[in-house]
Subunit: 256 residues, 2 copies
């Protein structure tokens, strides 16, 4: 057998067909070959090999001299992936500007005032987006409680947090004791940290006004959160956070 099922899945997701995967992985494993040998090694019908090869060349995964018989050379996976990313990003950017230029004016005209002030937000990515919205409008104070520290959140938040800090926003983060040392360190660059042994739900409070409460789920895709702009809910959450905060141990860096 050729490559692991996981890698095959990954390549499929990246937009290769199963023939293309067989062909490329054969080239990578056994080195440059002619079409015939590729067909033998990869079990791709010979009459399809040229379709597949030209498609792979177009997509940037292989190169070919144009001799007779042609030999085909795999590019390094890193190069292929980068070419692919360039192509996709370029296409997407074009689409995005097109969409924004036409739809955003319509959206703005309506105004978005009719939005209610409490929402159920479903799905990890929607939650992250909401969180980002919150961070962008935060001006004086941010409180975060998180039972588990998600890489995704750190990645997303870090740059925004830095700018927040430079604007003088007080940032407090509370996590559980099992959080990784690395995460804590990177957080401590922009916020105060306290740790506690147990925590039941996560959340964020911005300016004691906006609240996001995370209701964890087994799968990230089915995660649910409540976002609210209600003063009362915000007050309640703020109070509760204060209580927990006072009941938690300050975290001090090993280097401090």
């Amino acid at each position: 057998m050729a490559i692991s099922e996981k890698t095959e899945r990954a390549l499929l997701d990246l937009g290769l067909t199963s023939y293309e995967i067989k062909t490329y992985s054969a080239l990578v494993q056994y080195g440059p070959m002619t079409a015939i040998n590729i067909s033998k090694q990869s079990n791709v019908p010979y009459s399809k090999v040229y379709d597949v090869l030209s498609s792979l060349e177009r997509k940037g995964w292989i190169e070919t001299d144009h001799n007779r018989p042609s030999k085909f050379y795999p590019k390094p996976p890193s190069t292929s992936l980068e070419t692919m990313r360039m192509k996709i990003d370029a296409d997407r950017k074009k689409n995005e500007t097109q969409v924004i230029s036409e739809l955003f004016p319509l959206f703005e005209k309506r105004g978005s005032k009719e939005r209610p002030d409490i929402w159920i937000v479903r799905g990890q990515f929607n939650i992250l987006t909401k969180l980002k919205e919150m961070l962008e409008s935060c001006t004086t104070e941010l409180m975060v409680a998180t039972p588990l520290v998600l890489d995704a959140i750190i990645d997303l938040a870090a740059p925004l947090m830095m700018t927040l800090k430079s604007k003088g926003v007080r940032i407090r983060v509370m996590c559980t004791e099992n959080a990784g040392e690395n995460h804590l360190k990177s957080i401590s660059k922009w916020g105060e940290i306290r740790v506690r042994s147990q925590m039941f739900a996560g959340g964020a409070i911005s300016d004691s006004r906006e609240v996001l409460i995370l209701l964890g789920a087994d799968e990230p895709s089915s995660a649910v959160a409540i976002w609210a702009d209600h003063p009362s809910l915000a007050n309640f959450a703020t109070n509760y956070f204060q209580y927990l905060w006072n009941d938690s141990k300050p975290y001090s860096r090993s280097s401090a």
Copy 2:
């Protein structure tokens, strides 16, 4: 009618179905609505509306209160696009690391020495990738001749060029007189420029050793280039470039 064909195409490319497009654009145009009204405005069969709406919510294009009747709210297009980008990038990163971790060792083991030293490179993106490879291995001297200045190239090249310059590489760029002032200015940040009235083909020469010759085409996707590591071809190209260079006018910034 609702939105332009171009935007519809763009949204399709971004992964929405035609029902989803109708639904979302109706929401953007007429503001938040209930399912029934959405069905009427968008001409999506009522019995399908909930499927479509929940799919749109999952993808991050709309939000909903969960009342009876539910009202549905479009998110700003910019937000939707960003959520989408986050999701795609995350998936892709996972796939990429998986692929690299498994395939790159195989690739390295074979070594890529068997590669011939002259190549036909097809397609704009493959050419750009090749160019990047050249830039990365360039150590002392770079010559570029370009009849038309492509934004894509500038974008790609600028950061690399800066590092090249800081490593002491001499960079010379030759273009035609009709090149835009902006482009020339940004190029002049990292290289010497000369302009001439006419030029028939573009190309790049790195360290008088590696050559890339551009054979223009009508469509960018069918562009073709020749890349070579042949000393003789490189010498010929270098000579020719020198001749053209001496025959061209230096470009001086208006601000200089």
